[in-house]
């Protein structure tokens, strides 16, 4: 990233002075400097600060930011999918520790990623904030006076007229005002400028990036998410004891949870039932009853769909998963009901082959001795006629066309009394023995309503039916409004910055010694656009109402078009094309 030749060209080239002066502050771009400007530590510090806030470094930092974002998209990230990270680590045992050290599993909160964007924002602040004040100064000041030599400007027109110089200048002033230029008539010339909104847009855009960052920061300090699985008919109060899990942050902990109650009434799912995409999900809807705070009298009804969360209090309730919960009743040898309830089974594939366990901790065997019973198995919403030997039970379709429950039974010690937390979806078979039947593990395939008499007089299991369950994400995230405001301002600012032209126009009418008046117009735009030439031409044509061109000149021009470049600027024409080149960088290379 060099400082481009145009900079060097400019140093020591005094012929360009006029253009530079004219182009001064036509942009909010920062000044660039090549070396330390002071002496000693302060000088170096100032130099470093200048470097940090220079465009060159902004470019490098932007480039680094995009590079640094790449690894996070290719390597599994902790914040997104813990499970994938673990699998990946297990597969790449040699590099995993190195990656871990380099924080490659937490790219977006890593030291190096943060360093880049923090530097970028420091650079941004150091560059934009001073510019904002300077720009306010520019707005208060008059447009810069006309340079001595207007032919040096990138866009130029001239003609001779009989009209009085003062009249022409006044007319130009009026015309420019009418075009909503900020125009000023002084010393026999008009200086005018327009398009300040470009700079406003640019500043707004960059400043709004801070709002975006602020929104992000606020969200990461004061948000929290919890998870809750509800079977149809179940409800819960939003407290830490009733949530399945919860992740808080500095300013939103377990005691800050928004108080409300939600009950899942009904869950509807629909699936594609024909064609090549058979089994694809088509609709999920959760119908709930809920109330905010602790007053059940305020019960309301709500509907939650995938893209339509329900807002309750300061939290949003998102639908994120669903499945089936078979309802089972277990009777002991004496025929007493020892367990009844709907247990959520977890989907294993797209067709909702689901697995789950039922733990009956208080079960008396046929001798009345206390034991525990564990059932594990599959729920298939649409079961095949026969199971594949290799894959085991597999559902054919996610809808409940032919539901079947497949169960194995274990007796012994579930380990639930040990006091250790247990996974409710897994059976710890260490102290359990599988029940046998005819020398084979006992197994059954049940349709709704069917019952299974367990071997060895262990009683019976009845598959009563099934319900659906839905899992929800309960999310409290402030700062969205700040970020959204930042985003909207950013777009508005960008549009202003990219589509509005900031440009200056000067008009100077001077009485010629031999009689008549020379009218000169020049324009300087800060970005590459043909528009400024057209604007100047239109202005000139209008100005000719007050300053009609002398006939002899238009005669000259029409005689031979190809020559008019050297004619219309008369003596100065040769000069006009030579410095034109150097005039260009000043207009495009927006530096002071």
């Amino acid at each position: 990233m060099t400082n481009t030749t145009t900079d060097r060209d400019r140093v020591g080239d005094t012929a360009q002075g006029a253009t530079e002066e004219a182009a001064e502050r036509l942009t909010t771009a920062p000044a660039e400097s090549d070396g330390p400007t002071g002496i000693g530590v302060v000088g170096w510090l100032r130099w470093m600060w200048r470097q940090l806030t220079s465009m060159r470094v902004a470019l490098i930092l932007l480039f680094l930011l995009s590079l640094a974002a790449i690894p996070g998209s290719l390597i599994p990230q902790n914040g997104q999918n813990q499970f994938k990270v673990e699998t990946w680590k297990a597969q790449h045992t040699t590099v995993a520790p190195i990656y871990e050290k380099l924080q490659l599993f937490d790219v977006y909160s890593s030291v190096w990623f943060s360093a880049i964007y923090i530097l970028l924002f420091v650079s941004l602040a150091g560059c934009i904030v001073p510019r904002t004040w300077q720009f306010v100064g520019v707005l208060r000041a008059r447009p810069p006076a006309a340079p001595r030599n207007l032919t040096r400007m990138p866009v130029y027109a001239a003609w001779r007229t009989d009209a009085d110089a003062a009249t022409v200048n006044a007319a130009a002033h009026r015309l420019l005002r009418a075009r909503r230029f900020r125009a000023h008539l002084d010393g026999g010339a008009v200086a005018a400028e327009k398009g300040y909104l470009r700079e406003v847009g640019n500043l707004v855009f960059h400043l709004s990036l801070f709002a975006l960052l602020g929104g992000f920061a606020w969200a990461s300090l004061a948000s929290g998410t919890g998870g809750k699985l509800l079977v149809e008919g179940e409800g819960y109060s939003n407290t830490i004891t009733q949530l399945d899990d919860f992740t808080g942050t500095r300013f939103y902990g377990t005691e800050d949870l928004d108080p409300f109650y939600v009950k899942l009434n009904r869950f509807t799912s629909k699936f594609q039932n024909n064609g090549s995409q058979i089994g694809s999900a088509r609709e999920f809807t959760a119908n709930v009853d809920y109330y905010e705070g602790s007053d059940p009298a305020k019960l309301k009804q709500g509907k939650i769909e995938v893209n339509h969360p329900l807002e309750i209090g300061g939290s949003k309730f998102f639908l994120i998963g669903h499945g089936y919960a078979p309802k089972i009743t277990v009777r002991n040898a004496a025929g007493d009901v020892v367990y009844t309830g709907a247990t959520p089974f977890l989907p294993q594939d797209g067709n909702l082959t689901s697995t789950g366990v039922i733990k009956v901790s208080d079960y008396g065997d046929k001798d009345g001795k206390r034991t525990q019973l564990g059932l594990s198995g599959f729920f298939l919403p649409t079961a095949p006629v026969a199971f594949d030997r290799n894959t085991g039970p597999r559902s054919l379709f996610p809808g409940d066309a032919d539901p079947v429950l497949v169960l194995n039974a274990y007796a012994g010690d579930l380990g639930t009394d040990s006091g250790l937390p247990q996974n409710i979806y897994q059976l710890n078979t260490k102290n359990l023995t599988q029940l046998q039947q005819d020398g084979q593990p006992a197994k059954v395939r049940l349709k709704p309503g069917e019952a299974w008499a367990l071997p060895d007089g262990y009683g019976s299991v009845t598959f009563e039916g099934y319900k659906q369950w839905a899992s929800f994400n309960v999310s409290h995230r402030p700062g969205n409004a700040i970020a959204l405001t930042g985003a909207v301002l950013a777009i508005a600012g960008l549009i202003g910055s990219l589509f509005i032209q900031r440009r200056r126009i000067w008009v100077r009418a001077v009485a010629l010694p031999g009689g008549g008046t020379q009218v000169e117009l020049a324009g300087l735009g800060r970005s590459e656009s043909a528009k400024i030439a057209e604007e100047l031409a239109a202005l000139a044509v209008d100005l000719q109402d007050d300053a009609p061109a002398l006939d002899d000149e238009s005669d000259d021009e029409s005689d031979d078009e190809s020559d008019d470049e050297s004619e219309d600027g008369s003596a100065e024409a040769d000069e006009a094309s030579a410095p034109a080149e150097s005039a260009v960088p000043a207009d495009q290379n927006s530096k002071e």
Binding site: L498, A549, D564
Partner: protein
């Protein structure tokens, strides 16, 4: 209410047929553009006769003077160091007729693919007509696809690709309608459209079906539509950038006295293209025009993510690559707007940014799994 089987198979079938027909017509159009380029090479490359131009100017001026017109000639310093002029002539009085004519740019900008050959010009005209026909069939294909399932037709990569290719064609035809001299873009655009559609029908094809619930959102219409437009326009800017780089090396080679263009290409091809600075400016304009829309696309996506997943930004691979693309284009605009990094260096940044865009579309969808997986792929 999204019923599980509300697909109109006839319309879906019609859509496929229309897409295939569009591809066939694009192919013929592409050949016609090729003919234009080939025939154009045979006719001598015309640098517009200054004599003729002078004559036209003289006639206009004489006419103008007769009616007491006002006339101004503005001298414009151009980037290359030369000057061009712009002449505006207006009849005096209210409601004046205004004629503005540029001089100089045409001399730098080549005459277009057809050169001075009439046969080539005819080929070019036929090619454009064919492109219009293909675009109509293509639009019909996209429309019937949407109608067959009563939803926006961009629910998966196949549909997205078809819509995105259409956006590209429409961008090109839009420039033609705006009377911009961009017929030379016809060949690369039809080629790019054919490539995109080819990949769509062969690799990405998915039957017309209803959407998965994750896509049941009006943000689909907003976010994905703008993404499609951005894609089409970035693609067009990319082609222009490539041509700029080619033309620029060609100019350098000519200045160095070499006989052939870059990669051994014929000089006549490059002479017929617009000037390097014109190409450079065009690609900058397209990119700058699209950048705010791309910003909007990302923000709309974030809002949708907030509604769907509870967090507006999670560094999902698709989000990450959109961000990378955005920063890359911001880098390019910075370089252009402020650091004086014009020309080749900025062009390389633009190519890099487009590469990010392409990877975000094909690469991320195919190789990286995230939350953004489309139905069917």
């Amino acid at each position: 209410m999204h019923l599980a089987s509300s697909v109109d198979p006839q319309l879906a079938d019609l859509s496929n047929k229309l897409i295939y027909s569009a591809m066939a017509v694009y192919l013929i159009a592409m050949f016609a553009y090729m003919f234009e380029w080939t025939f154009g090479a045979k006719g001598a490359v015309a640098v517009r006769s200054t004599e003729q131009a002078g004559l036209a100017g003289a006639v206009a001026a004489a006419e103008a003077r007769a009616k007491g017109a006002k006339k101004v000639t503005v001298t414009v310093a151009s980037a290359g160091g030369g000057t061009t002029t712009l002449t505006r002539t207006a009849l005096a009085g209210e409601g004046a007729t205004v004629v503005t004519s540029g001089r100089g740019d045409e001399d730098l900008d080549g005459p277009g693919a057809a050169g001075s050959s009439e046969k080539a010009d005819l080929s070019g005209r036929i090619a454009v007509s064919l492109t219009v026909l293909a675009a109509l069939l293509h639009a019909g294909g996209v429309l019937t696809r949407g109608l067959s399932v009563s939803r926006w037709p961009w629910g998966n990569m196949y549909e997205f690709s078809c819509a995105f290719a259409l956006a590209m064609t429409l961008a090109f035809l839009g420039l033609m309608i705006a009377k911009k001299p961009v017929r030379w873009l016809g060949l690369p655009v039809t080629l790019a459209v054919l490539l995109t559609l080819g990949v769509a029908v062969s690799v990405l094809y998915t039957e017309s079906e209803q959407l998965v619930p994750a896509l049941h959102s009006y943000w689909l219409a907003i976010h994905v539509s703008t993404a499609i437009i951005c894609g089409g326009a970035f693609y067009a800017a990319f082609i222009t950038t490539l041509l700029y780089l080619g033309k620029d090396s060609f100019d350098k080679r000519m200045a160095a006295g070499l006989a052939k263009g870059p990669l051994g290409t014929s000089p006549s091809i490059w002479r017929r293209l617009p000037a390097a600075s014109t190409l450079d400016k065009l690609s900058y304009r397209i990119n700058a025009l699209v950048f705010p829309l791309w910003t909007f696309t990302i923000i709309a996506g974030a809002i949708w993510a907030e509604a769907a997943w509870g967090k507006y930004w999670e560094w999902d691979p698709k989000e990450t690559w959109s961000f990378i693309t955005w920063v890359a284009y911001a880098c390019y605009l910075h370089a252009r707007a402020t650091a004086g990094w014009k020309g080749r260096k900025a062009a390389y940044l633009a190519l890099g940014a487009f590469a990010c865009w392409l990877f975000n579309y094909y690469g991320v969808n195919i190789f990286v799994t995230g939350k953004h997986s489309y139905a069917g792929l």
